[in-house]
Symmetry: C2
Subunit: 234 residues, 2 copies
DNA sequence: CACATTCGACAAGTTTAATTGTTACATTGT
DNA sequence: ACAATGTAACAATTAAACTTGTCGAATGTG
């Protein structure tokens, strides 16, 4: 509560250094940490990348690390966001610039999606393996990312439904399921060392999307016949 | 190198204790640890369950822990295996005892699968969240589990294909994709707190399986038209 | 040039958990 | 009852990583 001068921290002057302003230096360090995070998290895994190693690889002091990120997990999240943002941008761009025929556009977009992840497998590893089960908060965040991608899928499906080309219905859950299907296939591809042509993977994905979006012959209305499980769902 | 007596460790006689033989006691402790692991890993997560807590909850001494499991990860793997084995057994049984109609049987099996996981959400959390990205070895193991479930799916699809009821083709990758789709939906269901009837989830899954297995109208042969990505896949 | 700021490098303190060792008590078979 | 064995509880050691603090050197400002 004491007034006068020198009570609180003096407003630091923030001089330039190395030809860069304070913000530029911070940004540069942050970038180097993100690069190091992509490398270590994406190759050796989040668990085996302590702050010390991240700093060693990036040339950033531990002291400065904590000025940029409160925790190691915050860096992981930042790297994850960078990856996901880039992929999402690829997808949106592919959707807008793709062929006019809806199904062709979906194929084109899937191609972009797969390449966005697998051209740098570190991205796929981080997004599909390393960010999972780290913390409750990161898990919530990951979920919102999945929802974002599912939203894109659902929008395409609904666009097709409006044309009357396919059966309609709430595509929220199917879209999420498709997201999981795609992710799982990418992980499979990764762990196999990608020894088969990527075209094959993409073709499978396209077939998958076509099947789900168009829906198979809607003759029967999916009657689930369970044997004797009584379950008052309401 | 000295011979005679008392050189090496004497072959311990292994007396009973508490009315139980040595093997029985070890088994009992192991069981308690598995229960504690299911509880802690499945509710608070693997990351926040140190050995001390596992021992406290299970009533097993840390000393004894190391006689049963070399590492904490080994316990996680054991718990995971227990969960997966139980679910897999449910699936196999549902398949064998389900309705005769193939599609109905698949629906019946999906119902069993979903209940096997979600009736005890700790199982789902461990299998889909906590075992991921822990170590390279556990990741390999998890992959083999996914392949096991995908194998079941593929077998069903091929059985249907033999009848000529659906289009054939290599279902290996689609089966893996379906596995990922199912898992993702279960996680979605979990994190939503399961506020909607589970029937809805199962119906979506059944529709998904029908679409993928039957394949949508195979009029077009999935021609992927990418714009200008030249990529020598061979 | 004098001086304050920023830097990288390093060290010290702290925390957390893994892992092993010790001790006193309980149970069993003789 | 007693000697051997098993047990739980606890202490001690070790290891790894987090986090904060200090130092001289480098850099910019006036």
């Amino acid at each position: 509560m004491r007034s006068s001068k020198a009570a609180a921290s003096p407003p630091s002057p923030s001089r330039p250094y190395g030809g860069q302003s304070k913000l530029e230096r911070e940004h540069a360090r942050r970038e180097r940490l993100l690069v190091a995070g992509l490398e270590l998290f994406g190759t050796e895994g989040y668990a085996s990348a302590p702050i010390e190693r991240l700093c060693g690889l990036s040339g950033v002091t531990a002291r400065h690390f904590y000025e940029l990120f409160p925790t190691r997990e915050a860096l992981l999240k930042a790297v994850y966001d960078e990856v996901v943002t880039a992929v999402h941008a690829s997808v949106v761009e592919a959707l807008s610039k793709g062929p006019d025929d809806p199904m062709d556009r979906i194929a084109h977009t899937l191609d972009a999606f797969v390449h966005a992840y697998l051209d740098d497998p570190r991205r796929a590893r981080i997004a599909f393996l390393e960010v999972i089960g780290v913390s409750a908060e990161l898990e919530r965040h990951r979920r919102s990312v999945i929802h974002a991608f599912a939203f894109v899928i659902r929008a395409q499906a609904e666009a097709l439904a409006e044309d009357g080309r396919v059966e309609s219905g709430d595509m929220t859950l199917p879209a999420i399921a498709l997201t999981g299907a795609v992710n799982e296939l990418l992980v499979e591809w990764m762990t196999r060392g990608a020894r088969r042509p990527m075209r094959e993977l993409i073709d499978v994905l396209v077939g998958l999307f076509r099947s789900v979006i168009e829906g198979s012959n809607p003759s029967r209305k999916a009657p689930v016949k369970t044997k004797a499980r009584s379950r008052k769902t309401k």
